[in-house]
Each structure stands twice: as structure tokens, then as C-alpha cells.
Amino acid sequence: MVDVPAGPLPTRVADSALRVRARRGGELLLALLKNPTTVAGLVFIVLLLGMAVFAPLITEPNTPDAYQMPRDWGALAVPPGSPGHPLGTTNVGGDVLYGLVWGARTSLRLSVIVVSLTVFIGVTVGSIAGFKGGKVDEILMRIVDVFLSIPELIFALAIAAVLGPSFRNIILALAVVFWVKYARIMRAQIIHVKENEYVDAARVIGDSSWRIYFKDILPNSITPVVVQATLDMGNIVLVGATLSFIGLSEAGIAEWGVLVSEGQSGISAGRWWASTFPGMMVFLWALGFNLFGDGLRDVLDPKTETSR
């Protein structure tokens, strides 16, 4: 038998628990940084997020509404390098650089709101279905099936069109479309995790179902949701830009899809800049989150094979 030293403990409970968690977090980060494509993804994300955060420092915010693109009616469709417009302007005098920088903010706002809404709804619905099972599961999953049977973009487009063109309606439309994926993932995870013996073991020591869900089931089934959420951070901006491009967003808002659409009529005339730059931004944003999400999956869920 080992003697346990009497007297005060060397560390406080909270401290040591924190240390272990921090160590695990550190290991996770190191594993992530070993993969060059993940690092590339992370670099894109950091650059774009930096742009969003420091937008007011890079370009003077427009008044009264900073998310509205400033119009320079004296300089329509000027090429990159023109005085006052380093990346040129669109056909209607919108500053491309301003649109890019503040568009990053718009995109961040869009993806964060939509992802948190959809994750919350999806995880709740999926958890109820998976945990309860039986008829509840059956009913919820049939509803999910209906949503899944309609192609994402078309469905979002239909909803946004019905609600009328505005940025808020785009958020709503995307939330309505994207939650079902999380419900599906969460339900599958829960059905798998709740069969584990540690769930029975928790029941055996007298835990309530509620507590078992938050302590044993949720932490062990959330990983794929985190990965999917990371990937969706990219996808949602892509779909959102598409909807704006079609014209379902407010006119003149600093958003990449809007910028592309303002520049598109000039492409045949050789005025490539107004569409190409925002297009690149959407591409980098989606690419960054996809690369990072894939890397995250490799680290968090080593059992999943990813095609290389």
C-alpha cells in the first residue's frame, strides 16, 4: 500500500484539472500543425479573420452605415492602381478594396450566426431523436428527410426569395437549410455512443438521464459536429455569396457576392478586377475552412479514413 502524504495538497483541484486540459489542448494543436495543408488552411483563415477584425483600420468606415459600400460617382470602373482606389472600382463606383475588407466582416457575421444557429437546432433535434428513440425519433427523422430531399442551394434560394431580398433573410434561409445535417450527424453519434458500457456504468452509480447526456454522451459525440461546423463555416459563405450574387441581398451592401455581381457586366469589356478579387476571396475563405476542417477531422477522429 502506498502512503498518502498528510497535510495540504500540492495543487488545488481546479489547477491540476486545468493543467491536464491545457496539455491535451497543446497536444491537439501540435498534431494539427504537423500537417502542411492544415497549416495552409489556418493561415488563410487567420489572414481573412484578421482582415475582418481590423477592417476599420485598413479602410475608413463608410458613414452612416459601414456595411454599405461607398460610391464614388466620379470614378466609375477605374482599373486597379487608380488614385484613391488601389483595387479599382465597380461599374457603379463601388470601391473594390472596401468591398473586400468589409465583405470579410459580412462573411464572418453570416457564417458565425448561421453555424451557431444550425448547430444549436441540429444538435438539439438530433439529441432528442437519438436519445429518446422510438416514435419521437421516427417523426423527427422523417421531417429531416423532407429537408434533405431538396437540394441545399435551391431550397435556400426559394426561402430567401419568398422572404424578400435582405441580408437577414439570407441568414434565415441558410439556417433553415443547414440544420438538418447536424441533426443527422448528432443522432447517429448518440445512437452509437449511448450503447457504450460507460453509459450503463453511469446509470449504475445513480446518475440521472439528464446528467448522463451532458456528462457522458454529449462530450463523446460532439466531435464530428465540430468538424462539420468548421467545414460549413466555408460552405455557408459560398452559398451566401451565391444568393447575394443572384440579388437576394440588399443592394450595395459590402459583400463579396454583391461585388461580383456589380462587376460581372464589365467582364466581357475586360474589366476583370471587380469580379475576380471578391471571387478569389470567397475561394480562399472556403478553401481555408475546408483544409482546416479536414485536418481537424484527422486529428480528432483518427479512425475516419480521408481520401488523399
Binding site: 500500500m1 502506498v2 498518502v4 460507460y198 456504468a201 446509470r203 456528462k215
Partner: protein, 442 residues
């Protein structure tokens, strides 16, 4: 040859009523092809302080029987088809306040007198005078207060029975928070003077009922030191529980995650968690099957030692006869959802009465045997979908006759505590064609 050296099977104290009595337990499962009678009329007693082995092959219903004690059989597809599990929970012994004395046989625990008759004996307590609950019919919250507190369970694979995302400390702490809230506050010296700043919060904390926001409040200066005392009290209890299962360096092991421990260590943690609240009954569902042989021996020895120190009753589920022989005081053999034979360990191994038990013992390979063909019982386990009124062993039994196909044998005593359900030993009165060991049919 002894796998676990140095521990003699001991006689159970007979003065008290059985800790649990299973009566005509029936648990069925609904399936696409019909109702599976997984457990079909099982009755047995677990004596106070006794280790009862429940033996049988895969699918005979032994795990379902054990899981019924704690209402762990999923419903649906499970169906409670009938019967009762009368459990007699104990409380701290009044004579010695849990320290162990002659009155409580050194267990520190004593039966509660029956709530409805006060100890005179009535229908409710089965004329034992002891407080009795039927585990098959009590409410969810009553069951929750028994789980982990009065009845604990250890599982087959300790690798799967611990939450991979939680540190050992948090998993063991869970039991204390669930069932020992008052003791924890006591240990920490809280509420000694009657009141405490943040009192209701601390009470909730010790009973695992705080929310995230309340935890934040408790981490602020006026409550911080008190919370610290509470957490320290829990920590001491965890360390003691782990040390009891001979885990070296318990304060280091606490900070580990399950994957950082070996299989044997994990099983020790499981045992520590199970015995943390000094339960009356420990259900061990093949606790060593997933471990290799040397670790197996040590874990068995540990269970035996702890069982003797705490005088805990144990229901030991296994398919391994040699283990059961080492660990158990009494053995019940299950076949196809029924108990075919139950007897003290020495009696069942030296003098098995039921043809199935005989076949089972003959099939155990021994190290002293020549290499060659392994002995097996011919045939397969019968389908348990709507079984007919016949002995379940018909079709495989070497001695069966038409009498065995027409009726179902009931368990009855052959000598003293040795019970067997077989027409060879208890022929039906007036029935012709009674089976006999002299007449082999296959």
C-alpha cells in the same frame, strides 16, 4: 490447483435474511420472430455476505438476470414479464455507527426494520421483519438512490466502462456527489456552525446540482475557500477509495484519463468506484473476462479481499467454472433462461446432479489431460421463442425420456442446500417412463 492462493471460501453468516431474493423472475424480449423468453421463472436467494456465482453459457440469461437488479434491461425491446426481486437494503449499524461490531458481523451495516410492520414480519417484507423493496416495481427515483449506493456493479470490459473524456477523479467523484452529499459537507467542516455564506450554493455543489454560472459565483473570493474545502474533501475520499483497491500513487492516477491506464488499473478504478459507497450488494458481470490471466488472478484476489473486509454480498456472473470455484460460496447454474441446479460450491463441483451441470464440468479442459479431442455437450442451445412446457435440456440431454418432453421440472432439494430441477431426481408422481442415469439415449 488454486488460481487464487491463500483465500479460503468462508461460511456466510446465517443470522440475517437474504440480502436479495429473486422470485419467479421473467424477462422477455420482443423480436421480429416472436417473444424471446430470455429469463423464464428464475428464483434464487443471495445470502447476506455471500458470494453467489451465476454460471451458464452465452445467451442463457445470466446477464439479463443481473441487469434486472438495477433496471438496466432496455425497454423496449425488453419486457418485465413478471416476478420480483426483493432487495433488503442496509443502513449504518446503530450499535457501532458503521465501525463494525459483533452485532453487525463486523460489516458496519445492519438491516432496517420493515417500514410497514416495524420488524414483526408481514406480507410486505416476506416475514423477515426487514425493510424490503421490490426492484422490479420501484419508481425511477427510488432506483436511482439504490444504484451505486446500496447496489453497485462492475462490468466486463473496464476499457469501455469508463468515460474516455473524463479524468479518473471526476468519474469516481461522481458517486460521492450523487450519494454522499451530507458526508462531503461534513468532511469539509461546512455547516458545522449551522450557517454558511453561499450555503444553498454549496449544498447544491455537493449534490451536483450547480449550473455553470453558479460555479463561477462559487469561484469568487467569499466562497472560494469553502468550495476549496469541499473539493479537497472529495479528493480525499477519491484517494482513499483508489488506495483501497491497491492503486499505487492514487493522487497521480486521479489526474489520468482512462486511456492512460492499463486494463488492470482500469478495473481497479471501476472496483473503487463500485465500492466507494460501501454497497450491500455488488454485481460483478464477468469482471475479469477482458483481462489477461495474471491480472485476472490479482483482480479476483482483490475482489475477494474487499468482499471479506466489507462483508459485501456479491452476485458473480461468469461462464468460467474454474473462476467460480475459486471465488464463490454458492453456485447457481443457468440454462436457457432457467436455473437447473443450485448448491454450495464444494457440493456442485464434487457431486453435480443435473445432466447439464455434469456435461459442463466434463467440458472444462484441464492442464493434466492428454492432448486430444475437447469434450463438448452435443447439440445447440434451444431457441427461446415461446418455449414449450418441457425440460429445456431436452434435445441435448443423454438421459431424456418422453416424461421430460411432457412437463417442466421444478427445482427441489436433493440433499440439504443442494437443489436441482430434473426428473431423474424428482420423478413426477405416477408418471411412467421416468428418466434415469442408467438409461442413456444418446
Amino acid at each position: 490447483m488454486s488460481l487464487v492462493g491463500g483465500i479460503e471460501p468462508k461460511a456466510a453468516p446465517q443470522a440475517r435474511a437474504a440480502i436479495a431474493s429473486v422470485r419467479d423472475l421473467r424477462v422477455h424480449f420482443r423480436s421480429k420472430v416472436g417473444v424471446v423468453h430470455a429469463v423464464d421463472g428464475v428464483s434464487f436467494d443471495i445470502g447476506d455476505g455471500e458470494t453467489l456465482g451465476l454460471v451458464g453459457e452465452t445467451g442463457c440469461g445470466k446477464s439479463v438476470t443481473a441487469r434486472s437488479f438495477l433496471d438496466l434491461v432496455p425497454r423496449p425491446p425488453g419486457i418485465k414479464a413478471g416476478g420480483a426481486i426483493m432487495f433488503r437494503p442496509h443502513q449504518a449499524c446503530a450499535a457501532c455507527d458503521g465501525a463494525g461490531c459483533a452485532v453487525c458481523f463486523d460489516s458496519g451495516r445492519a438491516p432496517e426494520s420493515c417500514h410497514s410492520c416495524g420488524g414483526d414480519g408481514c406480507e410486505r417484507c416476506g416475514h423477515t421483519g426487514q425493510h424490503t423493496v421490490d426492484l422490479m416495481s420501484i419508481s425511477g427515483s427510488e432506483m436511482q438512490s439504490i444504484r451505486g449506493n446500496r447496489i453497485a456493479m462492475i462490468f466486463q470490459d473496464p476499457g469501455k466502462a469508463l468515460n474516455p473524456a473524463m479524468q479518473i477523479r471526476d468519474q469516481v467523484a461522481e458517486v460521492f456527489f450523487q450519494h454522499r452529499t451530507a458526508d462531503l459537507l461534513d468532511d469539509a467542516g461546512l455547516f458545522a456552525d449551522g450557517s454558511e455564506p453561499g450555503g444553498s450554493l454549496l449544498r447544491r455543489k455537493a449534490g451536483l446540482r450547480t449550473r455553470r454560472a453558479e460555479d463561477v459565483i462559487l469561484s469568487l473570493p467569499p466562497f472560494r475557500s469553502r468550495r476549496g474545502r469541499l473539493m479537497k474533501a472529495v479528493e480525499t475520499r477519491i484517494a482513499d477509495a483508489l488506495a483501497e483497491t491497491q492503486i499505487p500513487n492514487p493522487r497521480k492516477v486521479m489526474d489520468r484519463y482512462p486511456h492512460e491506464l492499463s486494463g488492470g488499473m482500469r478495473q481497479r478504478v471501476m472496483i473503487a468506484q463500485a465500492l466507494a459507497c460501501d454497497p450491500d450488494l455488488l454485481i460483478a458481470d464477468e469482471p475479469t473476462t477482458a483481462l489477461d490471466v495474471t491480472v485476472q488472478a490479482r483482480i479476483l484476489q482483490l475482489i475477494r479481499e474487499l468482499q471479506q473486509r466489507h462483508k459485501t454480498s456479491v452476485l458473480y456472473i461468469s461462464h468460467d467454472l474454474s473462476l467460480v470455484r475459486e471465488v464463490c460460496d454458492r453456485v447457481a447454474v443457468m440454462y436457457a433462461g432457467r436455473i437447473v441446479e443450485a448448491a454450495p460450491t464444494t457440493s456442485i463441483f464434487s457431486d453435480p446432479h443435473h445432466p447439464y451441470t455434469q456435461g459442463l464440468l466434463a467440458a472444462v479442459p484441464a492442464a493434466s489431460h492428454e492432448r486430444g479431442r475437447l469434450v463438448a455437450i452435443a447439440g445447440n442451445v434451444p431457441e427461446l421463442i415461446d418455449p414449450p412446457d418441457a425440460c429445456r435440456f431436452t434435445g441435448r440431454c443423454p438421459f431424456e425420456t418422453s416424461a421430460c418432453l411432457a412437463n417442466e421440472p421444478q427445482p427441489a432439494a436433493v440433499n440439504g442446500a443442494h437443489e436441482v430441477a430434473c426428473f431423474i431426481h424428482h420423478p413426477l408422481p405416477g408418471a411412467d417412463d421416468a428418466p434415469s442415469f442408467d438409461r442413456r439415449v444418446r
